[in-house]
């Protein structure tokens, strides 16, 4: 059973233990119950320590529950394993989670997976249904524990906090007013509309708490990033236009993999979209550790592994210090033709803010 903190994890663990116990008392053969926390970040990412800490806490709590539920004398042919899996890669989609869980199940010859009905390690996006679908690929039984759970609305309402409400309300009100004709009535209807939008979206809009210290900085740096991106887009288009209109169609497409030193939904999305918009590169899939990128020409690949965009995205989301990192080529990626370029200080992005 994969575990993650949720309102029903306690009951699901109880259910799994009960099932394992009854299986153990029926037969003579050894029954083992594995309770594993699935880590989404890689152990090398900055967020990983927090995540691993939370996983450890949860496993500690589960150990206490185990003592409670199994009582003084557990069946001798039942053993219980606790652990963290998936810490070696970045998990993104339900498919990635399913891969990790199936690999683990295979390794320990597990026949049955019990899912917590509120299992949702990826944050706010619903995870359970797609995960179930993906798990069916494997040769194991999948079931969702029949446990009571609170109504969905209360679970969601807990996730929304005052800063989120204020941010969404402010943004939607501003947007409404921008497009209105500035009559007094517009201010009233705008407030009503923004309230409705806020009530609907606040529980799902942010994966992290918006903070007054972080967000304005990100916006300011985003404002610097946009001109840089526009320039890159213009260059990209001239290149594409040249290639497409050239009589002999000088393309050399190739699929490459970029292991980007960024993490989190927002930065990954920004980088993936920026890559798609700029010189001859197209993000095909973002999976596990890496971006799969289809590149149209050789020079596009050079640019990609010089890492200008990656550095710019790091600058936008993590601040100026984070921008000064080795380019992907210097980290030993790319085609390895030995031409290491040292343009660490990208003037467009590394300047003032």
């Amino acid at each position: 059973m994969p575990v993650a903190d949720s309102v029903t994890v306690r009951n699901t663990v109880a259910y799994a233990i009960e099932q394992a116990e009854s299986a153990a008392s029926e037969g003579q053969q050894q029954v083992s119950l594995h309770l594993v926390a699935v880590a989404s970040t890689r152990a090398v990412d900055p967020d990983a320590q927090t995540e691993l800490g939370q996983a450890k806490d949860l496993l500690d709590r589960i150990e206490v529950w185990l003592d409670e539920d199994l009582g003084a004398d557990p069946p001798s042919n039942l053993d219980v394993e606790l652990g963290v899996i998936g810490a070696d890669r970045y998990l993104f989609s339900p498919g990635d989670y399913a891969d990790v869980i199936l690999a683990y199940a295979d390794e320990h010859s597990i026949e049955r997976v019990v899912l917590d009905p509120e299992f949702n390690p990826g944050g706010t996006t619903p995870m359970l249904r797609p995960l179930e679908v993906e798990l069916v690929r494997g040769d194991i039984d999948v079931e969702t524990a029949p446990v009571e759970r609170p109504a969905r609305s209360t679970a969601l309402a807990r996730a929304a906090t005052l800063p989120k409400y204020l941010t969404i309300f402010g943004a939607s009100y501003l947007f409404y007013l921008l497009l209105s004709s500035y009559k007094p009535l517009d201010f009233l209807t705008g407030a009503i509309t923004a309230t409705i939008v806020t009530a609907l979206l606040a529980p799902i809009a942010f994966s992290r708490q918006p903070s007054l210290t972080r967000v304005p900085g990100q916006f300011a740096r985003m404002a610097l990033y946009i001109p840089y991106l526009l320039k890159e887009i213009a260059v990209a288009n001239l290149e594409i236009a040249y290639v497409v209109l050239h009589p002999s169609l000088p393309i050399d497409p190739e699929m490459v993999e970029l292991e980007a030193a960024i993490w989190g939904d927002g930065p990954v999305t920004t980088l993936a979209n920026s890559i798609t918009l700029t010189p001859g590169t197209l993000t095909v899939s973002v999976s596990e550790q890496a971006f799969d990128i289809h590149s149209l020409t050789g020079s596009a690949r050079e640019d990609l592994f010089d890492g200008g965009l990656e550095r710019a995205v790091r600058f936008v989301f993590y601040g100026r210090e984070a921008a000064a990192i080795p380019s992907p080529r210097e980290r030993g990626q790319g085609d390895g033709d030995g031409t290491i370029e040292s343009d660490i200080d990208d003037p467009e992005v590394a300047d003032d803010d």
């Binding site: 497009l179 887009i233 236009a241 169609l249 393309i251 050399d252 979209n273 289809h294």
Partner: protein, 106 residues
Amino acid sequence: MTPLEWGIVVLALVGAFFGGVASVGIVRLPDVYTRTHAASKSDTLGAVLAIGAAALAIQTDLATIKAVFLLVFMFLTNPTAAHAVARAAQDQGIEPWTAGDEEGES
């Protein structure tokens, strides 16, 4: 013609040029991935320049702001759509065309 009008004309023409490049690219390029390149990049720039020209030409505050929002959303949604197309193609197991298979069917 005023400089502003020149600006509008130039933007519209360049936009149309890149729109044309996108179309030619979709026809000439060999496979779904390379075509998505043409569709996502040239098309975005073409549309953005055209909308920019429209924004300059309309010249009322409100409509210009709306056009700017359109630009922003084009920049956000076009690459996402391209990614969706490419990812779907990859999930279907379509191998990218390489310079090796010159006779590769399109």
